[in-house]
């Protein structure tokens, strides 16, 4: 009888312990990366932020590209392979639902946000360069890629030409693509002591 009680207590303790452990950020990240989805909420506050909301009256995007990834499709495992292939170091945060990656060779930092299922839902990137030409080229290339994949930008402002950017500090070029289920925003800015390209890609619901 005592043995049965001890086993029962041990089993109950194990269940409780497991219930606690699966909410610890690294474990949640590992589970997500291995296809274990679980519920949407975490009682210990490790859940991801609410999904971004889009304008339902806007058209749908043909695709949701983000620096070579596809929002709503790319998985954590694919990102891990990409990081390995590109010798990029990524640090997991917020229970593995957020990856901070640095590519020192390109002066670029990338932040990748995953949903509870380990699927990519947002990407931000910043790149700093000493010359306007480098940032201008990157801006033009990114704009061309996005336009080819999702269509013409819904908003643009400023000139990304090197002579325009070099003209004065805080000169900025911006291009935006807004759909009901996708948002992309790219900016090239003269920071006075260098030039910065910032990119934001968000999957919208």
């Amino acid at each position: 009888m005592k043995r049965a009680a001890r086993w029962g207590l041990a089993a109950a303790s194990a269940v409780v312990l497991l219930g606690l452990v699966i909410h610890v950020p690294p474990i949640r990240g590992w589970l997500a990366a291995h296809g274990h989805h679980g519920g949407d909420s975490c009682p210990f506050g490790y859940g991801t932020a609410a999904r971004h909301r889009g304008d339902p009256t806007a058209p749908h995007a043909h695709a949701r590209p983000a620096l070579g990834f596809a929002l709503g499709t790319t998985t954590a495992a694919e990102i891990a392979r990409w990081a390995t292939d590109h010798a990029t170091t990524c640090r997991a945060k917020r229970g593995g639902t957020f990856l901070e990656c640095a590519d020192p060779s390109a002066s670029t930092s990338i932040w990748l946000q995953l949903d509870e299922q380990g699927v990519l839902e947002a990407v931000q990137a910043t790149r700093r360069e000493p010359t306007a030409a480098m940032i201008s080229d990157a801006f033009v290339q990114r704009q061309a890629e996005l336009t080819a994949q999702v269509g013409a930008p819904t908003r643009h402002d400023g000139s990304s030409a090197p002579n325009a950017l070099t003209g004065a500090a805080l000169r900025q070029a911006m291009v935006e693509y807004r759909f009901s289920d996708y948002h992309a925003l790219v900016r090239a800015t003269n920071m006075g002591d260098g030039y910065v390209l910032t990119e934001e890609y968000t999957r919208l619901d």
Partner: protein, 198 residues
């Protein structure tokens, strides 16, 4: 609606004569002593405060706060860092001001820095001093250079352009007031160094 009131009323007559351009102010803005007081906007030949006035500065300040809130909600601390989320916590001590006080202080600093008076009454009815020590205000926050760049390029510049600050190619024909009378302060290496890495 008088969002910011100039506390030094005797200047009013001088400024009105000079056409400082904030018609809905009880007391019109004055030439200040901040680092941007001597800057000249392409569009007007005057400094930013004289050119745009109180309502625009309030609008820009509120746009900055709204944009930070949106940024934190959408992307967390990935771009702007964790310092904004610490506002009101008191740890580090630079964060002890609650959000409304922080907002008023930022408005006062912007007004002072860009040529306005050293003291304002903000939309909350409270008085704030514009001359502030940026190093003390940012000590312990560990703000990185890239976070600063992101804040300026993706929060501040859109707040300016979104509230009507001219951002053309420069000169009187196509004025670029962002570059001519706002940028020199926030891109100044000494100013940036007073905020980054503290």
């Amino acid at each position: 609606m008088h969002l910011i009131s100039d506390r030094i009323v005797f200047i009013t007559g001088l400024c009105a004569a000079a056409g400082c351009g904030t018609d809905d102010m009880k007391a019109a803005p004055q030439m200040g002593t901040g680092p941007g007081a001597s800057l000249r906007c392409d569009s007007s030949g005057k400094n930013a405060w004289e050119t745009y006035g109180a309502d625009a500065f309030v609008a820009v300040n509120k746009s900055i706060f709204n944009a930070v809130g949106t940024e934190l909600g959408a992307n967390g601390d990935s771009n702007v860092g964790g310092s904004f989320a610490l506002i009101g916590t008191g740890n580090p001590p630079a964060t002890r001001d609650p959000a409304p006080t922080f907002e008023g202080k930022l408005a006062a600093f912007l007004v002072y820095a860009y040529g306005g008076p050293t003291e304002i009454t903000y939309t909350d009815g409270l008085t704030y001093q514009g001359e502030q020590d940026m190093t003390i205000a940012h000590t312990g926050l560990g703000i990185t250079s890239s976070q600063y760049d992101y804040f300026i390029g993706n929060i501040v510049v859109p707040a300016l352009t979104g509230n009507g600050v001219a951002h053309g190619m420069g000169g009187s024909a196509d004025p670029d007031d962002v570059a001519s009378c706002f940028a020199p302060i926030v891109t100044d290496p000494t100013f940036k160094a007073s905020i980054v890495g503290k």
